[in-house]
């Protein structure tokens, strides 16, 4: 197990956003976390990356406890992420955005920076080169000098992924990476996620709503509902799981669902 989450809970005031969730992520896998809106998926990501402190439970990443680490320390430990609503640094260039992503892999010394010794210049050169390569990898070659917020939506998502990859992570957490994309773009994105795993050897975890993406790419799916994990398994198992169908469509619908239609939302619309 690369990531081992045990009994993690988080409450806000009286609302228990995540209730003792346990899940494991295999090294080298592509997994998804799904669930209806408000199920606690993003909160779980925020707990994993240290943005929230878990009330209880343990998070072991690569044999190391992540509990109590700050987000930057979690990032340095090898867990990178993207955000549901794109959070690029809007007025920096695309290349600079990606360069910031590598911060935890750099040696930042004020004296070196001020004296511009060769170590500093070399580091800057390597960094620029690496960022350029990453942009090439996500399919944004030649767009490095554009200001991030002027890019089209889909490209911004790619920059976010390149930025996350810049920290050389072992695990990348993608929060709804295909939200707002049309089917063609989604297909491209899926191919990109596969390449991240296959070519870079990075474990991928997605939060997704698009069932085509989820079912098409995931080797393992966990389902959250009201902060609890209600199911866990391979795509086929999840598709047939009555609790999952119930969570998405309500009890009444659970009996009449067509297991071959991968998108329950469409199923309901069709009724």
């Amino acid at each position: 197990m690369l990531l081992d989450v045990k009994d993690v809970s988080k409450s806000f005031g009286g609302i228990r956003a995540v209730r003792s969730v346990t899940l494991g992520i295999e090294k080298g896998s592509i997994s998804s976390i799904i669930g209806p809106n408000g199920a606690g998926k993003t909160t779980l990501f925020n707990l994993l990356t240290g943005i929230y402190k878990a009330d209880t439970g343990s998070i072991i990443f690569n044999g190391r406890s992540m509990i109590g680490l700050r987000p930057d320390q979690v990032n340095a430990a090898g867990m990178a992420r993207t955000f549901q609503s794109i959070r690029l640094f809007p007025t920096m260039t695309v290349l600079e955005n990606v360069m910031v992503g590598a911060h935890s892999r750099l040696h930042v010394s004020i004296l070196q920076t001020l004296s511009r010794v060769s170590a500093f210049t070399r580091q800057e050169e390597r960094l620029t080169e690496k960022a350029t390569q990453l942009l090439h990898f996500v399919g944004l070659a030649g767009k490095g000098d554009e200001v991030a917020r002027n890019l089209p939506y889909g490209d911004q998502r790619r920059v976010e992924i390149a930025r996350a990859l810049a920290s050389d992570p072992e695990l990348i957490l993608l929060d709804e990476p295909t939200a707002g994309m049309n089917p063609n773009e989604s297909a491209d994105a899926m191919a990109l996620f596969r390449r991240v795993r296959d070519e870079l050897g990075i474990t991928v975890v997605l939060i997704e709503h698009d069932m085509k993406v989820v079912m098409g790419i995931s080797e393992h799916i966990s389902v959250l509902d009201y902060g609890e994990k209600i199911a866990d398994g391979a795509p086929a198992e999840i598709r047939a799981n009555p609790r999952v169908i119930e969570a998405y469509l309500g009890r009444g619908a659970a009996s009449g669902i067509d297991p071959n239609n991968p998108n329950p939302a469409k199923a309901e619309a069709a009724k």
Binding site: I51, P71, N75, R87, M92, H103, R163
Partner: protein, 481 residues
Amino acid sequence: MTTSRAAVSEAGARSGFWGRFLSPTSAAVFLIVYLAVVIGLLLSLDRASLWFSIQSTIVFPAFILSPLLIHSAPIPRTWKAVLIGLVMLIAMPIIGISDSSYLELAIQVCIFAGLALGLNIVVGFAGLLDLGYIAFFAVGAYVWGMFTSTAPTIFNELGILIPPDSQAVAFIIFIGIGILAAACIGILLGLPVLRLRGDYLAIVTLGFGEVIRIIARNGDSPTNFTNGSQGLLNVGRPLVSADMVSRIDELSNTLNIRVVGNLQPLTQQILFYFIAILMLGIILVVANRLQNSVIGRAWTAIREDEVAAIAMGVPLVRMKLMAFALGAAFAGAIGVLYGAKQTFVSPESFTLLNSISILAMVIVGGLGSIKGVLLGAMIVTLLQLQVLKNFSLQLNALKNIDYVILGFHIRDWPTQLEPAKYERFVFGILLVLMMLFRPAGLLPESRRRLELMQTNDLPDEPPSDIPGTPSGPANPAAAGD
């Protein structure tokens, strides 16, 4: 990327004022004529003239701004360097010999430009609004003052003052000490407060600035460290040698310039002018290198989106502390220079008004823009120390001869309505107008222009998938997905 931005600014410069000039040569000729006219006018102004105050208020700023004008001109770099060198290292001292008040102004501009560049690191680069910045300046000034002033302080009583003949060496060492002391205090203050949200940080730093001032004002009892509200008198300075004085004398004779007043203090001023130029130069290099580095990018990232920055591995508190400490260090170093130059350090030089005037320099010039901040420092310092003051002098001159304009006796102008006393009014209105109409400043940094011009595109709180960040009450309902 760097090249592309330079190209953009070059193009920007061409399309504006400099667009009229077809070749570098014509631009250079224009600059030389401009400089000749301005310097000639400055040297020929008649101090006895009734309108002298107004005249010098018009001509001197035109001279002081010329390095920036040269810098923006479409001419080769070496020409720029030569011209700027001529203006700053030769023309200015000569003008200073003819009237040392210009030299004083130039030194003050350098001092405040240095301070503004330091504050720019904190506010402009890292986006932390510091309203007590002057406190670090005070630290530098007091560090030097306490060990050299002849005021009856504890240091004087204990006999641990630096003897006058070794003050030149001590001055250099104390610049280092000033840097360290200010940076340490910056870190000590920053550690607890940098976790605060922007507006709270502003108020806490304001409080801190006042606390430092009150401590300085009351630091005369029970043990006299600061000599209280009377301030530290006779603060030491690196002295000029008799040799240097005689050389300035020769120089003024060769140039046929009549020296007004005593030669020794003039030579001293010239020395301080060169020290100030040197320090400003170092600060400029440092600020520039910081901006174009990992550190500078991390600061920008923090400024634009703290949550994204920390999630990308930027250690928030450490980077903020670095900005705070570096900004403080600049102020500490310049504080030492200021103490030595003024030979008098008192709490009244370090008020909120001073902090705000430095902030005004940064805002007027352009947050984060090094060139802009230099321009801002020139404008605001000249406003404060020359324009308003000279308006007052002019008013008094006109009052004395009972000048009548359009039937109004200048004599009847209320004495309480003296322009020099209305700095707050000017700074206040400058800040408001800049924020309303040109929030990115007169010479905006390219990034800032994007950030501040189209403010409506940028929600002040990112529509967060992280409830409640970066501010305000969290909304648990949004905690899910």
